[in-house]
Amino acid sequence: MRAAGLLVSVGLLTLVALASIAIGAKELSLAQVWHGLFEETGTYGDVVVGERISRTLLGLLAGAALGLAGAVLQALTRNPLADPGLLGINAGASASVVTAITYFGVTSLTGYVWFAFLGSAAVGALVWFLGGSRGATPVRLALAGTAISAALYGYLQAVMIMDGAALSKMRFWTVGSLASATDETIKQVLPFLVVGTVVALLLARPLNAVAMGDDTARALGADLNRTRALSMAAATVLCGAATAACGPIVFIGLMVPHVVRSFTGPDLRWILPYATVLSPVLLLGADVIGRVVARPAELQVGIVTAILGGPVFIFLVRRRRTAQL
């Protein structure tokens, strides 16, 4: 049953990915899209299709990373509110990007990527250390993340208030968008995303044990410290890389695991693969809608995800007895 559902989800993902290549702010005929995909000769249509392919690839990768990271973090902290934002990863990336803009004069997106990634990785490590490293408990991790976010957002706002140029860039970066995807960006983050995804998927079993509580997990033979350290590392790498490439898209990592849990139950061996497949469906679907509703301009994907996803999320929370963690 659940395996069939997963197959259906993969089919859905394929459809959305194709739609994301075929539909956009510029209207192209299906023939032009076909031409761009398989008989590329460098016409205007081909260039547009090429850009859409990069964008779709980034959407696939980033969506999967965010959903997977969210599911891992919620299991790790045993907190339904856990998302990349909670552990300070978004704050680390944002603070690092605003520093790059203001003090290092970085203006290109490929330049931001490394700063954003370094910032989120540094904050992830710091949260882990301050949260108690080996003795980390879920609440302490969450509180440490919140505290560091508080401090970093203070810094971020101070810079934006004093430096108008930083504000004019950051206000677009912080809503999260796939529009700036290039092959260059994808190449930069791809290795991190692949490693993070593999590690996260392998963690399903030990995380299942952790979910039963520390004592039970120990009795079942799970290595709590190793599981925690690995999950934290995987989640940081995944969200850090995704955030670096498209800015903080907050809602996916939070929402998709809840939705998935409502039909798979609490078993992470199912939640993680489902989250990996369904998160990009949401991200790409939202991106397609964002390209169409405001033609010829675009609505950033972060905005569309939240405005569409929010009501769906509330509906699901109301309708079902959401499976507790």
């Binding site: 509110l81 505290a147 203070g154 934006m160 208030i161 004019s168 939240a306």
Partner: protein, 354 residues
């Protein structure tokens, strides 16, 4: 998922009993913490009144406040600086109390108004006024109040299903918060850069230029709501043990919860309308208070005092560090609250208390 700094079962607090069978528990440590926090808030207020382009020694400040200072200082203190400090104290107290209520009702240490979407809803109300109508400060405050109240009502109604369950409340709050955040992000990208800059300053939370017009509504609100909340604190304390247990103990769970939620929404929305969504006070104040008193339960009074002290100290720090009115107080509450919470986490770990 409720954090509780567990207390030793015996030897904590003292029960006061009257011959008629009435009894009250006095938690000595909590009491001392409250007194110290009040003192801290008071001292910080006096120092803050003395700080500015025209410094006034603390002794003069106290003399003027008691009613016999010289006229020039009286003007500066009574008309300019005192109302600002009072707004700071009241906003901090409202946010601290509102945060403690929400964290207790949602049974989640992260269930503060920042996370549940109230702040974002109030911000959306204010941004609509700033970006779409270019309204003045009073209209922005009204917009924020309207946005906050509307969001609070929406969250409550959407989470209602034969009662409001803590977990569902939090999840619905997150959904609403995400929608409001997206609307805010959209409004800011659509605004021209001048409006965007104004919006960012408002969103940070600021006490600049607050006068008596902001003090009176806040004071009236607190005078009504704080006693109401404290009168129901006993029920809230029992509700942390679970709805069934508290029902058996004679608490009308749903009624108390609704009353307290309405109070918390009003406190947060009122504070946000007066000073903007000052970040993290509502989130950190109850956590800090809980760690200082080491007492389980909602810690309402300590959180209230902690919020007030935190905001006034932060305002003083922002004026000292960056010069008068350069940076809004919200920048510093984030940094100060965050760093203080980290420090507490580290010392707690060293002391072996988790």
């Amino acid at each position: 998922m409720k954090t509780q700094v567990m207390s030793k079962p015996a030897g904590r607090g003292r029960a006061l009993r009257s011959p008629g069978g009435l009894s009250a528990r006095l938690d000595i440590r909590a009491f001392v913490v409250v007194v110290l926090l009040l003192l801290a808030a008071l001292v910080a207020s006096v120092v803050l009144i003395g700080t500015g382009d025209f410094p006034i020694p603390a002794a003069d400040v106290v003399r003027t406040l008691l009613g016999d200072g010289d006229p020039s200082q009286e003007l500066i203190i009574n008309d300019l600086r005192l109302p600002r400090v009072l707004v700071g104290l009241l906003v901090g107290a409202s946010l601290g109390l509102g945060g403690a209520l929400f964290q207790s009702i949602s049974r989640n240490p992260l269930g503060s108004p920042d996370v549940l979407g109230l702040s974002q809803g109030a911000t959306a109300g204010a941004l609509v006024v700033i970006v779409l109508f270019s309204g003045d400060a009073d209209q922005v405050a009204l917009g924020a109040l309207g946005g906050g109240l509307f969001t609070g009502l929406a969250i409550y109604l959407l989470a209602w299903k034969r009662g409001v369950h803590g977990y569902r409340l939090v999840l619905v709050g997150i959904g609403v918060s995400a929608i409001a955040t997206a609307v805010n992000g959209y409004l800011i990208t659509k605004a021209d850069i001048v409006d965007a800059a104004r919006a960012v300053v408002w969103m940070t939370g600021s006490l600049n230029g607050r006068d008596w017009e902001q003090v009176w509504p806040l004071l009236i609100m607190c005078a009504i709501l704080v006693p109401t909340v404290l009168a129901n604190a006993r029920g809230l304390r029992m509700m942390e043990m679970g709805d069934d247990v508290s029902y058996a103990l004679g608490v009308r769970v749903e009624r108390v919860r609704m009353l307290l939620m309405v109070a918390a929404v009003l406190l947060t929305a009122g504070a946000t309308a007066a000073a903007g969504p000052v970040s993290f006070v509502a989130l950190t104040a109850p956590q800090l208070a809980k760690r200082l008193t080491r007492s389980p339960g909602p810690n309402l009074v300590p959180s209230l005092c902690m919020g007030a002290a935190l905001l006034v100290v932060a305002d003083w720090a922002s004026q000292r560090a960056f010069g008068a009115d350069q940076l809004p107080v919200g920048v510093v509450t984030g940094v100060l609250g965050g760093v203080y919470l980290l420090w507490l986490l580290v010392t707690e770990r060293k002391a072996g208390r988790i």
